[in-house]
């Protein structure tokens, strides 16, 4: 889908005169209005109903006790969410740190370097990565990516960089790193698609001017393309981050499901979305309210990230929507 809102403010349209006295017209308008209002209503009910359902855990553990608690012992009624929050942040950061530079470079290649003949197929293939359901990434991750790629890499990291603490063994295969790397693959199509749209809004004249002054292609990108696109890239990164924070199934299968905090990224941990998916079906009422509490925290974190992303981008007059589909 092409992005039509290149020039902000160009959308001054006053199409047809309404005839409010015609009944059909009035009904039609009302139906459309209600449908639009339903979106706001749904979002509001979502927040209220899940928050209310999670109240028991906030009461029993206390606000701070739940958020910063380190222990998660359901049969004793102890629910501390911190290990999950930590794991979610660490895996999402790995996903973004690995995925974003790759995405930006891909977008630069497609929009500034490749000939149209190559750019089309390449962007089509990258987009295909977004079409693959996350459960398929998870299945592939468990049986192919982790044993044959992540495990050997983690072993080598533990052997040579283990002394730093960040890559300290023992290596099991399932880890923060396994999850983070699969997340990075999953965010590449979204982030690179948004960056591509952002780069497309840089005026051709500025690029041509840079080239005319003798800039190399890289210097043209550095001087004309990147400064113009900074806000858009930040927005893309944050949308990618939001996606990575909320990803459930890949994390549920690849994180290792260990309640605890490891500085080392090659060791197993847990994420918020993963613990919800893994423990929901075996949980009793108290534990379900604790899982709902984690869900509410996750919701607010992702909402904040998403809203910030859109504000950053909206300020530049851009839109994230078409690339996000």
């Amino acid at each position: 889908m092409t992005n039509s809102s290149g020039e902000p403010g160009a959308q001054v349209r006053r199409p047809i005169v309404d005839r409010p006295r015609r009944r059909g017209d009035r009904v039609f308008r009302r139906v459309a209005l209600i449908s639009a209002a339903v979106v706001l209503l749904l979002l509001a009910i979502m927040i209220v109903s899940t928050t209310i359902a999670s109240l028991p855990v906030w009461r029993s553990q206390g606000f701070i006790g739940f958020l910063l608690g380190m222990r998660w012992v359901p049969n004793k009624g102890i629910f501390g969410a911190f290990p999950f929050i930590y794991g979610t942040v660490v895996t999402a950061l790995i996903g973004v740190l690995v995925g974003v530079p790759i995405s930006v470079l891909i977008a630069l290649y497609i929009s500034e370097v490749a000939t149209p003949k190559v750019a089309g197929p390449v962007s089509y293939l990258i987009d295909l990565l977004a079409a693959i359901p996350s459960v398929v990434y998870a299945l592939w991750g468990i049986f192919v990516f982790v044993p044959y790629v992540v495990k050997p890499v983690s072993d080598a990291l533990a052997r040579y960089l283990g002394w730093t603490g960040i890559f300290e063994g023992p290596v099991f295969g399932l880890s923060y790193l396994s999850t983070g790397l699969v997340l990075s693959i999953m965010i590449v199509p979204i982030v690179s698609a948004i960056c591509r749209e952002v780069f497309a809004t840089v005026p051709a004249g500025e690029k041509e001017a840079a080239l005319a002054l003798g800039a190399t292609r890289w210097e043209m990108i550095r001087l004309a393309v990147l400064p113009r696109s900074r806000a858009g890239i930040v927005g893309a990164v944050m949308l990618g981050l939001g996606r990575a924070l909320g990803e459930t199934i890949a994390a549920a299968l690849l994180i290792g499901s260990q309640v605890g905090i490891h500085l080392s990224v090659v060791q197993p941990g847990y994420t918020m979305a993963a613990v919800i998916a893994n423990q929901f079906q075996e949980a009793d009422a108290a534990q379900i309210s604790a899982l709902l509490g984690i869900g509410v925290v996750l919701f607010f974190i992702t909402i904040v990230v998403n809203v910030l992303a859109r504000i950053v981008v909206a300020r530049t007059g851009g839109t994230l929507v078409s690339a996000d589909l």
């Binding site: 889908m1 109903s49 089509y124 890289w218």
Partner: protein
Amino acid sequence: MTTEPTSLGRPLSARRRLTDRLALTAMYAAVGVSLIPLALIAYFLIVRGLGAMSWDFLTSSQPFSYVQRGGGALNALVGTSYMVGLASVLAVPLGIAAAIYLNEYGSGRFAAVVRFFADVMTGVPSVFVGLFIYTLLIVPTPLGFSAIAGGLALALIMLPIIIRSTEEILRLVPPSLRDASAALGATRAHTTMKVVLPAARRGITTGVMLAVARAAGETAPLIMTALGSVQLAFGWTIPISALPLFIYDGARNPFAAGQERAFAAAAELVAIVLVFTVAARWIASRHDRELGR
């Protein structure tokens, strides 16, 4: 594109040429690095997925034990059809109507707020949508884990996608069409239904199909709504399986037979999703040509 850019005829300094080369190499490497997973996944799905696929797999349901070999994912395919079908029936008209409001009527603050929150809704983690339907329907009503609950969760995932993609498409419909219709005396409702929507037909279809593809692949919200079932079930108020749930179960359990079925189901699911995705793009490209772009 192969000539070296130079500054006023002077040869490019070695350092600048090197930086340029390095940047280009990094771009090629990035494309390569991200196409490797795609190739690996395609290989995995073809070798292990199609390897485990058979006529029996397509036409029969899961055996009652994960250890037992044979059987298939028909129960999951039926469940996916039920829930994606219900989700489409709910989300498509609602989403299109909301988009009509945003583009044909809304110009004020309210429309901007709805648009913003529809965007925000696309970023809500799908597992949270599942939790929401659980607290709204499964706890307080006698409905329980069911195809209806799963379908509602999927509808909530499809809704914002349909709203925003439809609105983008409606925006592309030339205002002159609306003006022409109005000049002939048509009301706004008539204009929208008979002129604007038909003109945007292909684009809207594309958005709907992408939303369907997304919903068909969702796992997390179904865990706490549809629950899953190993039986071939036809019904709206009973727990029901879905292809993603089927794959998730197979991947989670340590039994080879269940894992094999998960590989085959993954191939089946990706095939379904790709049919929708590729068809959506094909329709979109024809739409672009129709509008002369």
